[in-house]
Amino acid sequence: MSLSEPRSGAATREPLPQLSIDLWRHRHVLDLDDFSREETDLVFEIAEGMVEILDRDVKKVPTLRGKTIAIMFFEPSTRTRASFELAAKYLGADTISLDSARSSVAKGESLIDSLRTLQALEVDTIIMRHPCSGAPYIAARHLDTSIINAGDGCHAHPSQGLLDIFTMKQQLGDLKGRKTVIVGDIMHSRVARSNIWGTRHYDMKLVICAPPTLIPRGLPEMLERCALNHVTIEHNLNSALENADIVMPLRLQKERQQSGLISTMREYIQGYQVNAQRLARAKPDVLVMHPGPMNEGVEISHDVAYGTRSLIEQQVTNGVAVRMALLYLIAGGKSR
């Protein structure tokens, strides 16, 4: 399939198909570990309809009219925040966007108190990003409002995991037997963790590749205990790339070098940068993804990031569609 072709699958579908949404049982979206195959497929099916809406001149639909969605970010973000905000607006919801630097959090208000205030303001759904792993879980335990996790610490980023898999399926169709390599700072990556969970339903292989210092020590035992048998760990990127269908480098933050987890950026680039020379080891039609933001020239070379094999812009567009699907299922749920 050529990447310049229109997105397959979406063209013939109705914008909001009559789906069997009865199987949807989530009040919150915290991670993909509690998503069944059917639920994941349901999100994708609805997202395909949303892709169709995004292709229209007038993108707004009234699905969530009268609903209020709060977007509460406790750490900086551009694309995830914009993506969620547009998703909510395209569905007709009212949005209120707060960031911790300019809210009462800066005055020392606790997480629970901040969110309780939003709940008291009768918002229907809270989309939250937080630098601490587990923060949305604590919020969900103490609140009645639905919580969508837009990234918590190093733990999970479920909407990103969904949009990544949605993008893979959009390009490759059935993922059975396909091999995806996620390479980079696995230790600090919520994207990697959510992809590990989300991909488990699709009979595909996932290779996690990083220097030993950037992989959590407990990861092998976690994979075993959680029966995540589709995942293997590899320290050598050249070997990992053999026969790969998709490769997804992760952003390497400069702090990792400052904290001594890697020696120099130069050495990291030599071992782990995804570039044209390395990609030659993968399948000829290998696809490249990146959750963003990129450090061009570090984990990914410029030519690969913007080359013909790159899906990075499709990921961004799909991100809006997948988030529209999640909001439809979560915020639309109360009136059903």
Binding site: H26, R27, H28, L30, D31, D33, D34, S110, L111, I112, H130, C132, S133, G134, A135, Y137, I138, A140, R141, H142, D152, G153, C154, H155, A156, R190, R193, P216, R217, G218, L219, E221, M222, E224, R225, C226
Partner: protein, 443 residues
């Protein structure tokens, strides 16, 4: 309430220090144990009918936090002592991480004065700081602290990283014959960590604290112990490797003792993520299970149990660490470490006895004679002439932990709502009731 004389009738008396385990009576007169044995005649004493109950020495806790002075919102000496008594403890050693810290004689005296005034029935024995301000740079006046009555030295949660400072401290404590009580943690290895470095940390996206962070310092301290001849007490030991290091060092004749907490003996790191059934929320991130050292794996628990069975572990200490609601009602990474442990200790530990993992006498030894040997004092026994510190236990009585009803100000417990079998029915300190359950029969 002051009782002049007490006669405890028909209890199963277990006194590990005196190798006693028999049904009999205990006569308490003038605040001291007067006599133990069968069919002691009553001459006007208040009679406690204790058939079916165990009578043993009041428990001795080598490691707790009473928070006063400085953190009276978390606990006071009075509230901590009340909680201790309810838990069966009549002697508790309090850590010096108060504000100001107990790094001078006046602070030690202040704690002892408050304790004598507000909690006279519980022996409260302060531990002095190793370094000034617990900053790990400058040694305290150890001799002066000892003179003021501290029973050992510790910087607790801010352990001394500088090995030279530690060796100099140990040269001094060796001649004072007081233990250095070390919270063994390599702060570089544990930096940024919030729980055990294992599969649960990987699952939760939390940075882990490896077992090696504890074991490297246990090994260092053992080497310094060998170098200086000091007494070393490793507190809240938590890993397989630490138990083996201590076992080996003792085999070589070094003066090393250690303790373990009830929570490290009964809970694993899985407890951090364990969510309430039916909540629809897959992971708990339960801040009440955040302790330091962190809860470890079931293999570590097995090693700790073996350590108790073969005598490598001398004592069980609560590390009672009361905190406010705000300290725990927050993000896991921002939550304070510790659990309010006095009031659940015995019931929790009895689960190990009921499961057949350790026997009752070994448990009581670890709560009485074992820690008393570390302190080298006269607590932890029922020998005639001793201060009448006695606890009465009902090993079969079931109860449910209700943190909201704790006498401690700290309601931070991972055991809230747990059904336990085994309860403290009465605690007698110096011949008077420090705690008495309504079921106790007195005539």
């Amino acid at each position: 309430m002051k009782e002049s004389n007490l006669l405890i009738k028909n209890a199963r008396i277990i006194d590990p220090a005196g190798s006693m385990d028999e049904i009999g009576d205990i006569l308490v007169a003038d605040g001291k144990i007067s006599q133990t044995g069968k069919d002691i005649a009553n001459s006007g004493a208040t009679i406690i009918e204790a058939s079916g109950l165990i009578a043993c020495p009041g428990f001795v806790d080598l490691h707790c936090h009473l928070r006063e002075p400085g953190y009276e919102n978390k606990e006071t000496i009075a509230s901590g002592a009340a909680a201790a008594a309810r838990g069966g403890f009549t002697t508790v050693c309090c850590m010096p991480n108060t504000n100001p810290p107990l790094d001078n004689a006046a602070s030690i005296s202040q704690v002892k004065d408050i304790a004598a005034r507000e909690a006279p029935l519980v022996n409260i024995l302060p531990i002095g700081c190793i370094s000034k301000g617990r900053a790990g740079r400058e040694m305290t006046d150890l001799t002066e602290l000892a003179g003021a009555g501290c029973i050992g030295f510790s910087d607790d949660g801010s352990p001394v990283s500088n090995s030279r400072l530690m060796s100099i401290v140990m040269q001094n404590t060796a001649i004072l014959d007081l233990p250095v009580i070390d919270h063994c943690e390599d702060l570089d290895l544990s930096a940024g960590g919030h729980m055990n470095d294992g599969w649960v940390a990987a699952r939760l996206g939390l940075k882990g604290i490896p077992a090696a962070a504890e074991e490297t310092i246990v090994a260092r301290d053992i080497a310094l112990c060998e170098l200086t001849g000091a007494r070393l007490h490793v507190t809240h030991i938590s890993t397989i490797g630490s138990v083996e290091l201590v076992r080996d060092a003792r085999r070589r004749g070094l003066k090393i003792t250690c303790d373990v907490t009830p929570h490290h003996l009964t809970l694993t790191h899985e407890r951090v993520m364990k969510a309430q059934a039916g909540s629809g929320i897959a992971l708990a991130y339960d801040t009440n299970a955040k302790v330091n050292p962190p809860l470890r794996s079931s293999a570590d628990i097995d090693a700790l149990i073996r350590g108790i069975k073969d005598g490598t572990i001398d004592a069980i200490a609560t590390d009672h660490a009361p905190h406010t609601v705000e300290d725990k009602l927050c993000e896991f990474e921002n939550a304070t470490c510790g659990t309010s442990g006095f009031e659940t200790a015995f019931g929790v530990l009895m689960s190990l006895v009921h499961a057949g993992w350790i026997d009752l006498n070994a448990l009581i030894n670890c709560l009485t004679a074992g820690p008393a040997r570390v302190l080298k004092n006269t607590s932890g026994t029922l020998r005639p002439g001793s201060r009448a510190d006695i606890v009465l236990l009902d090993t079969g009585r079931e109860w449910t932990v209700e943190a909201k009803d704790f006498l401690s100000k700290g309601r931070n417990t991972p055991f809230d709502g747990c059904k336990l079998k085994g309860m403290v029915v009465a605690t007698i300190g110096g011949g008077s009731f420090a705690f008495r359950h309504s079921s106790l029969r007195i005539s």
